[in-house]
């Protein structure tokens, strides 16, 4: 909300500078967003008198003026305004001045061959209004040569953000009251004239919707002349960022900006019958003042007459009954609307207005009569006319809240000692009525709140009033208590796992990305695997619509962008959530690590020749390393299928702890996935389902006892012929398990099929590591182990190669 210092001073007697006012506003909770000083914008513009005006020799529409600025020789100025004439006074912009409206710096120039030493300005050029029909005409007594800014007495303008809990400060007078409480001056409330009016109001006013519109006051004024509002009013409205429209409209806007009190003026000639606050009928339509038509429903309060709706109550008036230049009789409306309903209606219609902003936050229910008197006075003063008596339908909810407030609460909650009499003074200056204390200090006070302060609900709010006026800067820092000794660890096991996998992945050469939680629906569907997605009702764009069921789509999009930018190699991972359906309509959000490897694994090089791409084993290596970092029992994992339709069916797998518990999936992506994401393959990926990894139990610090064996391990090689369909891992596992005590490792080091190997068979060679205990193995022992290995392999149909 913007207002000029000049306007503020109408309600606040103060010598404070604009900066002091701004500082005080910030200190008491009204954040200053800007200070404008129009005098700065008007530098270089002078009050000047046109001495002579003659035709331009070379242009029909231009005149050549001789203009006096009170000093030196008159200046020659070329001017295109039709109203420029000898003897008039206006505003001259001298070379060097910058035109506020367009930022153009004025210069001495030749206009069609005639020298011009400045510019006579219009209202619009100086941003003083909209008018641009001619140059500004100043009164005859304007002092020639004076700085126009000074003559105009341009006042600094303060732009302040009023928080939604303070509708009472959505008018200049309310701000003045707060500033006065803060010690910035003396509050001067507006004089409310006593206007009785002549004769009963000729229009019947009624409220048929006591819930939506508990009070509807009004009166008729006959014989008004609607033209331009007076200059002083226009100036204040313009300073407040409000465009002057017509005197009648400007009067209602002035009332709203000065007192936070919206009102409406109807052209009486366009009304017929009683004017009634009622619920709209479903489907009823109204053309509003913004020239848009709104379709209403029966939850919305409207003001209507026999012909239909004239006002979306508390939000915006109707075009059909609006005042025009020809309006002579008007009906004023000052009503109280139920704040929550205004908000609901406004949201439903998608319609915002200054009136709605105030009504939905709650206007002062005790200010209806005063508002009506002030508005009547403004209109009569500016447009003339004869007011009728006021008419009142219903009554506003004016009961004042009474709170029990113990002043000791200020120290307990606010952490600041404010003497009781000071607290009392602060509350009183803000219009709270503070009852006498009970028997002595420390007793609760009975505090009656002004009806306009809808935000005050309990003692905490009164503490806030005291603290903000006393000054938050006076609150001293007080250390929180702390547990003796060194701070205790706070991270949960899940948090520790996430930290470890994140840093493990980064240490393995992957960059951590953070991608959107929401995806284009097709991307999400591609990875949904039959799960019902969470899809937003009101996405900001189609690309950010469905909550991700996998981390891979976002990473694939990032990889695609990277390759588009010419990246040869992409290694990305993300630690985040996947979103599924949970119990009771809530979500089930599962911690996951996703990774994508695309492009070159190693670039072409002088030592190893061609660039090498990624394959499914690279994805497996990452999956296993990260599972290990996460504390998963990687030695016990089973490699199984069903990685998902997004993966290459022959080059992907899941890692499971038991047949049902999937800890990770990895592999090369399916060509259809690559096509859907428009990325060139091969691309490999993995997802680690962190939520599925069993938590470590009974984490002790001491490791199991261990001392390195004294004897060296022995290795033995075995080569088997197996069915090509046999997973090599099965053979490895069987061999490894042939003698659990002495075989400490088994590793496949060769795999071969083709020449010398029968059709349908594959040769697998394993290196088996044997660890002797106290004594070296005897030949017999070695043979027994060998036999056990061969026997275990045979169970899988493997035959030992000679």
């Amino acid at each position: 909300m913007k207002f000029s210092l000049d306007w503020l001073r109408e309600y606040l007697e103060t010598d404070a500078s604009v900066q002091q006012v701004a500082d005080a506003l910030n200190a008491i909770g009204h954040e200053v967003e800007g200070i404008e000083n129009p005098a700065e914008k008007l530098a270089g513009f002078k009050v000047a008198e046109v001495l002579t005006a003659g035709p331009h020799p070379d242009a029909d529409k231009l005149q050549v003026l001789s203009v006096s600025t009170g000093e030196g020789d008159p200046l020659q100025v070329v001017c295109g305004a039709p109203n420029a004439r000898a003897g008039m006074k206006g505003v001259l912009g001298l070379p060097g001045a910058v035109v506020p409206a367009n930022g153009m710096e004025l210069r001495k120039s030749q206009i069609r061959g005639v020298e011009s030493n400045g510019m006579m300005c219009s209202v619009r050029e100086l941003e003083l209004g909209d008018e641009h029909d001619g140059i500004i005409e100043l009164p005859g007594d304007a002092p020639v040569g004076a700085d126009f800014a000074e003559y105009h007495s341009a006042s600094p303008i303060i732009d302040v953000a009023i928080t939604p809990d303070r509708p009472d400060c959505m008018g200049v007078m309310g701000i003045a009251r707060d500033l006065a409480a803060a010690g910035l001056g003396m509050f001067k409330p507006a004089d409310v004239p006593q206007i009785d009016g002549d004769g009963a109001c000729p229009v019947e006013i009624r409220t048929d919707d006591a819930e939506g519109c508990p009070a509807f006051y009004g009166r008729v004024i006959r014989g008004v002349a609607n033209g331009s509002s007076p200059a002083w009013m226009q100036r204040r409205l313009i300073d407040a960022g409000q465009r002057p429209i017509s005197a009648l409209v400007d009067c209602t806007n002035y009332l709203m900006l000065a007192f936070g009190r919206p009102a409406h003026v109807y052209d009486l000639a366009k009304l017929s019958g009683a004017v009634v606050a009622r619920r709209a009928q479903d489907g009823e339509r109204v053309l509003a003042l913004n020239e848009k038509t709104y379709t209403l429903d029966d939850s919305m309060t409207v003001i209507a007459d026999d012909n239909g709706v004239h006002d979306i109550a508390g939000i915006m008036g109707g075009e059909d009954s609006g005042v025009t230049d020809g309006t002579s009789d008007v009906l004023l409306e000052i009503a109280f609307f139920d704040p929550p309903r205004i908000g609901v209606t406004g949201r439903k219609l998608g319609l915002t207005s200054d009136a709605r902003t105030r009504f939905e936050r709650g206007v002062d229910p005790e200010f209806l009569d005063q508002g009506l008197a002030l508005l009547t006075d403004l209109i009569v003063r500016t447009c003339g006319g004869a007011p009728s008596e006021a008419v009142r339908a219903g009554s506003p909810p004016v009961e004042r809240k009474v709170l029990q407030f113990n002043p000791a609460r200020t120290a307990k909650l606010g952490g600041i000692d404010v003497p009781e009499d000071r607290q009392r003074a602060i509350l009183t200056s803000l219009d709270f009525e503070v009852g006498d204390p009970g028997s002595g200090p420390g007793q609760a006070w009975q505090v009656t709140c002004p009806a306009r302060r809808h935000d005050i609900e309990g003692p905490a709010d009164l503490v806030e009033e005291v603290v903000r006026i006393e000054g938050l800067d006076k609150v001293a820092s007080v250390p929180l208590s702390r547990v003796p000794g060194v701070a205790r660890p706070t991270a949960t096991p899940e948090q520790l796992v996430q930290r470890r996998v994140r840093r493990a992945a980064a240490s393995r050469g992957l960059h951590e990305a953070v991608t959107w939680s929401f995806l284009p629906v097709p991307d999400a569907e591609h990875f949904a695997d039959g799960e019902q997605l969470w899809v937003l009702d009101n996405p900001i764009s189609e690309d950010l619509k469905a909550m991700r069921p996998s981390l891979l789509p976002g990473l694939l999009r990032a990889a695609r962008r990277a390759t588009d930018r010419g990246a040869a190699s992409v290694r990305l991972f993300e630690v985040g959530r996947r979103y599924f359906r949970g119990a009771n309509g809530h979500s089930d959000e599962r911690a996951t690590l996703g990774l994508v490897l695309a492009g070159d694994k190693t670039p072409r090089g002088w030592a190893n020749g061609k660039a090498q791409g990624f394959d499914a084993y690279d994805a497996k290596a990452e999956a296993l390393a990260l599972l290990e970092a996460a504390g998963a029992p990687v030695d016990n994992l089973m490699v199984m299928g069903e990685a998902g339709a997004q993966f290459h069916p022959g080059q992907s797998a899941t890692l499971r702890l038991g047949p049902k518990k999937v800890l990770a999936r990895f592999g090369a992506l399916h060509p259809a996935t690559l096509k859907a994401f428009d990325i060139e393959g091969p691309v490999v990926a993995a997802e680690i389902f962190l939520d599925a990894i069993p938590a470590k139990k009974n984490a002790e610090f001491a490791r199991s006892t261990y001392s390195p064996p004294a004897l060296q391990p022995v290795t033995r090689d075995f080569a088997f012929l197996v069915d090509s369909a046999l997973p090599a891992g099965d053979l490895n596992k069987a061999v490894r398990g042939a003698d659990k005590q002495r075989i400490v490792d088994a590793r496949i080091f060769d795999r071969f099929d083709g020449q010398g190997v029968p059709e349908g068979k594959t040769s697998l060679a394993l290196e088996v590591t044997l660890q002797p205990g106290e004594k070296s193995f005897t030949d017999e022992e070695l043979k027994a182990i060998s036999d056990a290995v061969v026997k275990a392999a045979q169970k899988l149909g493997a035959e030992l190669r000679a």
Binding site: I28, A476, T492, R503, R508, D537, I540, R561
Partner: protein, 371 residues
């Protein structure tokens, strides 16, 4: 005899010295010490000598043999060393050629800063709490004193789902981390000290806003926590986070439905090289204030909504943008880049995996160390 032997030895030693390869040395060795060698033949004469003669000739001949043997070994060593040198001279690698490169990864600034915050607040006794990002409107709004018709609720630019939970509450994407306050108080009661970092969402997108962003919530509930504790906690946290002692805060009264009194917190900063640098008094020369976080004493209605007795329990809450903290500390200027997954940006602004924040090492990761 002995002069003749001496001459023979001298000659042998000279020949050894002149020998140019190990073969020549071996030939000399065979000539002297081989089975048929002359020195060996001389040694055999000892057996026929009288004990007296042997006592004199023995050591002399042994000495001769030792001198020759030693000379042979020495020469061999010299020749072998020379041969090795010569071989190595042919095995030169051009070490200006590039070595195999391991890819270098990084930790995202948001994660890094979350770890830093967890470290700082752990020292102050705050644990890290989490909650769902897909929330219901009761937790996100109603329990936080933002009723359906509350104007502030409309200002939140909320993303809604068409779904409702079992209690009929609309489901939405949480607009702030504050619902974690409710969940924590409901779940753990009081006293409680938590921070809750995480993803938050608002339907807002421009140069400085993204529809998804990160917030950290702080909550401390006890019997006697007041505004002074809030101020100290924020000062202490920011000093530790930015690792500077000249952090100056300006507290301004403000409004949030879930706190009462509500306090907006500005921090003093200066502009150096086009960048905002936090520190100093905002009213000092060349300094200004910037809004950094919102906070306040938890509204009694919120405490009651979370099932605690507001006459017994009170405390503070605060909320702050993590992305913003990261940008201020580490100098990024474009929020949108945070969520683009551009490896170039990540390797520039990301962190080494070994930059795990610690209190002893400093929670921040200075430029040019590690990654």
């Amino acid at each position: 005899m002995s002069t003749e032997h001496e001459a023979k030895i001298t000659e042998t030693l000279e020949r050894l010295h002149a020998a140019e390869n190990t073969d020549a040395v071996e030939a000399i060795r065979v000539e002297a010490l081989g089975k048929q060698g002359w020195l060996n033949a001389l040694m055999k004469t000892l057996g026929k000598m009288s004990p007296e003669e042997r006592q004199i000739e023995g050591p002399r001949l042994q000495g001769m043999r030792a001198r020759v043997s030693e000379a042979i070994e020495d020469r061999k060593e010299v020749l072998e060393a020379a041969a090795l040198e010569a071989r190595l001279a042919t095995e030169v690698l051009d070490l200006t050629l590039p070595a195999p490169q391991a890819p270098r990864g990084s930790v995202h600034p948001v994660s890094q800063v979350m770890d830093e915050l967890a470290e700082i607040f752990a020292d102050l006794g705050f644990a890290v709490a989490t909650g769902p990002e897909i929330e219901d409107e009761w937790h996100n709004f109603t329990a936080l004193n933002m009723a359906e018709t509350h104007p502030a609720r409309a200002e939140h630019d909320t993303f809604y789902f068409p779904d409702r939970d079992a209690d009929g509450n609309r489901m939405l994407l949480r607009t702030h981390t504050s619902p974690v306050q409710i969940r924590t108080m409901v779940g753990e009661g009081a006293p409680v000290r938590i921070i809750a970092p995480g993803r938050t969402y608002r339907s807002d997108s421009d140069a400085t806003h993204t529809p998804m962003f990160h917030q950290i919530e702080g909550l401390a509930i006890d019997r006697d926590i007041h505004l002074g504790h809030l101020k100290w906690t924020l000062e202490t946290f920011l000093k530790a986070f930015f690792e500077r002692d000249d952090i100056v805060l300006r507290l301004r009264p403000s409004y949030f439905p879930f706190t009462e009194p509500s306090v907006e917190v500005d921090v003093g900063y200066s502009t150096e090289g086009g960048r905002r640098v936090v520190g100093g008094h905002g009213d000092a020369d060349g300094h200004a204030w910037m809004e950094l976080l919102g906070s306040g004493m938890v509204n009694p209605r919120v405490i009651a909504a979370a099932g605690l007795d507001p006459d017994e329990w009170q405390g503070f809450a605060f909320g702050c943008g993590i992305d913003r903290l990261a940008m201020l500390k580490y100098g990024m200027n474009d929020l949108r880049a945070f969520f683009d997954g551009d490896s170039r940006w990540l390797s520039h602004y990301g962190f080494s995996p070994f930059d795990q924040p610690t209190l002893s090492g400093g929670v921040g990761a200075p430029k040019g160390v590690g990654a």
